[in-house]
Symmetry: C2
Subunit: 564 residues, 2 copies
């Protein structure tokens, strides 16, 4: 599937949503000069279009295969992964001390967006590695960092996150995997994990599993969970991959999409010979995992942007080429039909909105990393919005992409269906969107005694000019304040509609700013037209959710479970 | 996938939406007694659950296969189809003169709903046969009727609709297939048709293709199109299938879903030996096709109901069984979590709404057939709503069904993904939902000089009690009146949001009536709870679309096609 990286739009969002100039003015990010940023975006675009995009269809049709010796990727993937390593595309945001470029997370976000737009399933692999790098950077011991970070940074080794077990999905605290001290400071790991993306593959020399497990006599629930580093191959005296560490791929899932991303069932310690190393404090696993998960949530939100961008490009191409019906008596490409335009404008507008949301959050990661406490609050506040709303938008846009293609959209060879299928996982993994909504109305509305929410509302209000946006932010404030003191059921009953409202208000604020700060040139005119469509036709839909956001839980519990 | 036919809900909708009692009071439908209706609904439910539902997964995983000798259905399908024929399930609505039961179309709708809820891809086969029966009943010659209707009615032979060609999708008038007189009253057919559902299979003795083609010197566009009856096997002197009629399956499509339904490329007359028979008048093809298409549109809307019902049943089962998290300190099934309840209530409410819309339209088919001109207007008015909105709801509900299953929803073996994939074709075929919206704001708003639209508004207003519903119908009237005099681009620009608003108003009216007329018993309490959720939380969303419905086309044309 040919694609062109939207580098100009990415750059504009980095400048005007992230305010990258402010970051580049700090000592830490002094390397993020205009030239470097442009070179990185352009280079990533060319690499992704040239090396990764051509493999996207085979990723779907062939997919990763399980064998008794491990997972085998489709032809071309190992080579394309090596090209990624050699190009240094994994090093963008990693710390310089371990071979990274130390560029802002926001730049890394743009690069991952491009890779995932080219090949969403494939890009999941570096996304997981980024999570492992972050967990080790923040919680690993100096020895662990020296041993693992350099080769995770280059991508020679890849990372995984191991949370889920059959009985412990959204309820991570219910997990049962066990870690037992071996007496030498290391731990013996035993248990089964499911839904492990890139849990095994043949593209890298080692795989670094970050595994949540329980130690003996640990408290119940999430308070008793510890995080362990469990390499596929133990490191030998020289620090190279050596003996097999008793981590087996039991099977891979037969999924609706993302077939290039092997979703593994991993069995640790079948032969009681799986060695793990504690990361951070015993029983401190959830804290370490949250470091990883929060940014992983943004990266899943980013997958919403990826699929939206990819589906839109494909639909625009088709709509320009497909001749059907007439306009002013002449045969016409369907892009000229009003309802097709409506769908395409909506796709463009929702893509713009999704990117703005995720980039905004990414910028707060960088500011929080610089010690800005308000940015940390902003990041926590918008993380559920970026994860849930951007993935919902990715699904909506991918569905519109199928619709634009008409009957051809339902035929697999066309490729529009692949986006539709693949998008569907994004509202589920890394905390379902329902979990995000619960996080929003629970932890996030209460954050800093409500000041984090008040700050977001104030931020929007300080800039908002569109009357619909102003009305929406008023409604968000009113509903949010009610939910801050509502009881748990009422809060949760309203959580999803409220999440939608607040996401759209936040996106509307940023989209309006993008239009306002656009120059009087052709890209600026295009952006203003798309932003106007968002504000005039998409944003008002949020007001339709106020009724549900204002309802309490009574309507949900009129039925007994048996009556459904 | 186990399922239970929702016979009580079907019966209630037949009684209170269709007002079946009024139909049964007519001479024509005197056979539709309470006992007969209950027996038909119950029997269809048992047949579908016992014979067709168990084949649904294999329909997806194995699918229909193309071979040089023709299309081969998955194991069990020919036998299950034979059981359908032997049970008389194809005869419900067909004319008694040709072996049908002559029951109301609304009853047939309920039976087809049940069959399709059990196995959506399979049920497409009888749906297409119903279309062929209707076209022949209304437009066939007495000889054609005698020769073909009896065995189409039993289902021994099946029917197809052949409209689409590669260059002629939504623009049917662009088709190029040719019909040339053979001098004996028959015609020689030549051309290629695509997207022909059940264009070939191994379950019936003959396949009756209804084919749109152009005759020599015919006017351009749809005015020059004629309809031909083209059997796979010509009838011999005894009226039995005889010589092969030069209709070949060139290939079948590799689709995102409905793999049990072979979507064929058919080549007519490769050897100049394909004989067709004109149905109705030369150049009268579109009129005859519209007879078939209008009811086919309702039957596709019905597929929205099918997939919504099936996905909801599956999600409810899972949510009752899946233990995750706690409530009041105790482990709980996820159905007790507020946001899961919100999703399930939404699924139930949207299913209720979709069924009400489609059944309402079906009831107007029967009234129109009794010569009620106002009912004919009502039918035409609500057909685009029933087709487009019910299929959109089917998609929404199937997506929620995946979400309820969490990570398991993305795993194919679970089955929730199948509904999600299969639903996606329904907004596309039988006239894309965009075409339905165009039909609504074009032909339908203008129908009977606007009286048809005014009558629908008046019907809703006469019963509506909910304040939100009343506000919505006011908005619909205001927007609809503006669109009646708007220019074409402005009308089409607003068509989809307006279709949504009017569909929700119409569904809201019927849902409110279902609640109002429910008894004070357990099913009545359940229905009222679901209806209240619809009116309180779903219907208000329609007001969020008013801004888009009130916008003109300017915002869609600010960009040139190149600027997208």
């Amino acid at each position: 599937m040919p694609f062109t990286a939207p580098t100009a739009e990415q750059r504009f969002a980095l400048d005007h949503v992230v305010r990258l100039g402010e970051l580049a003015a700090t000592e830490r990010y002094a390397a993020a000069s205009d030239d470097v940023i442009d070179a990185v975006l352009e280079g990533a675009g060319q690499f992704a279009a040239g090396e990764w995009a051509p493999l996207a269809r085979a990723g779907d049709t062939v997919g990763a295969k399980w064998t008794p010796e491990g997972v085998v990727m489709p032809a071309g993937y190992p080579e394309a992964y090596r090209a990624f390593v050699e190009g240094g595309w994994g090093t963008i945001g990693a710390p310089e001390a371990f071979g990274g470029q130390g560029l802002p997370f926001a730049i890394q976000t743009a690069v991952l967006e491009t890779l995932g737009t080219a090949n969403m399933g494939f890009a999941l692999c570096p996304i997981l590695t980024v999570g492992a790098i972050e967990a080790l950077t923040h919680h690993g011991s100096p020895e662990q960092q020296v041993a693992y970070l350099p080769r995770l940074t280059t991508g020679e080794w890849t990372g995984t996150m191991n949370l889920t077990e059959p009985q412990a999905g959204s309820d991570v605290g219910a997990l049962k995997s066990m870690a037992t001290p071996r007496g030498d400071g290391s731990w013996s790991i035993k248990g089964t994990k499911i839904f492990i993306s890139f849990g095994d593959h043949d593209m890298a020399d080692n795989i670094v599993h970050l595994v949540l497990a329980r130690t003996a006599d640990a408290p119940a629930g999430t308070r008793g969970i510890s995080l362990f580093l469990v390499p596929k191959f133990r490191l030998d005296a020289e620090g190279n991959p050596g003996a097999f560490n008793d981590v087996r791929v039991v099977s891979i899932e037969h999924k609706m999409g993302l077939h290039a991303s092997p979703t593994c069932v991993l069995s640790f310690g079948d032969n009681d010979d799986c060695i793990g190393h504690l990361i951070g404090a015993e029983h401190g696993g959830m804290r370490a995992m949250f470091t990883m998960m929060n940014n992983a949530r943004l990266n899943v939100g980013l997958q919403g942007v990826q699929v939206a961008e990819a589906a839109t490009q494909k639909a625009v191409d088709y709509a320009r080429e497909r001749i059907q019906g007439t306009r002013d008596g002449q045969p016409t490409a369907i892009i000229e039909h009003p309802d097709v335009r409506r769908m395409l404008m909506r796709m463009k507008a929702q893509t713009l909105a999704a990117r703005a949301l995720v980039y905004y959050a990414a910028g707060q990661v960088d500011r929080a990393g610089l010690g800005d406490a308000a940015a940390k609050d902003r990041l926590e506040m918008v993380t559920p919005l970026a994860k849930a709303h951007a993935t919902d938008l990715g699904n909506e846009v991918a569905s519109l992409g199928v619709q634009i293609h008409g009957g051809m959209g339902f035929i697999e060879e066309t490729g529009a269906a692949q986006y539709f299928r693949e998008a569907r996982i994004t509202p589920i993994y890394e905390g379902t969107n329902g979990i995000q909504a619960a996080d929003l109305v629970g932890r996030k509305l209460a954050l800093s005694n409500g000041a984090a929410f008040a700050a977001l509302i104030a931020d929007i209000r300080a800039e908002a000019q569109d009357a619909g946006l102003i009305a929406l932010v008023d409604a968000c404030e009113r509903v949010g304040r009610r939910l801050q003191t509502a009881d748990a059921d009422d809060r949760l009953a309203a959580s999803y509609p409220f999440l939608n409202m607040l996401s759209i208000a936040t996106a509307g604020w940023l989209v309006e700013r993008l239009a306002r700060e656009s120059a009087d040139d052709a890209p600026g005119e295009t952006r203003r037209a798309i932003a106007a469509f968002y504000l005039d036709q998409v944003l008002p839909e949020a007001m339709g959710q106020v009724a549900a956001a204002e309802a309490d839980a009574t309507g949900l519990y009129r039925l007994s479970a048996d009556a459904f």
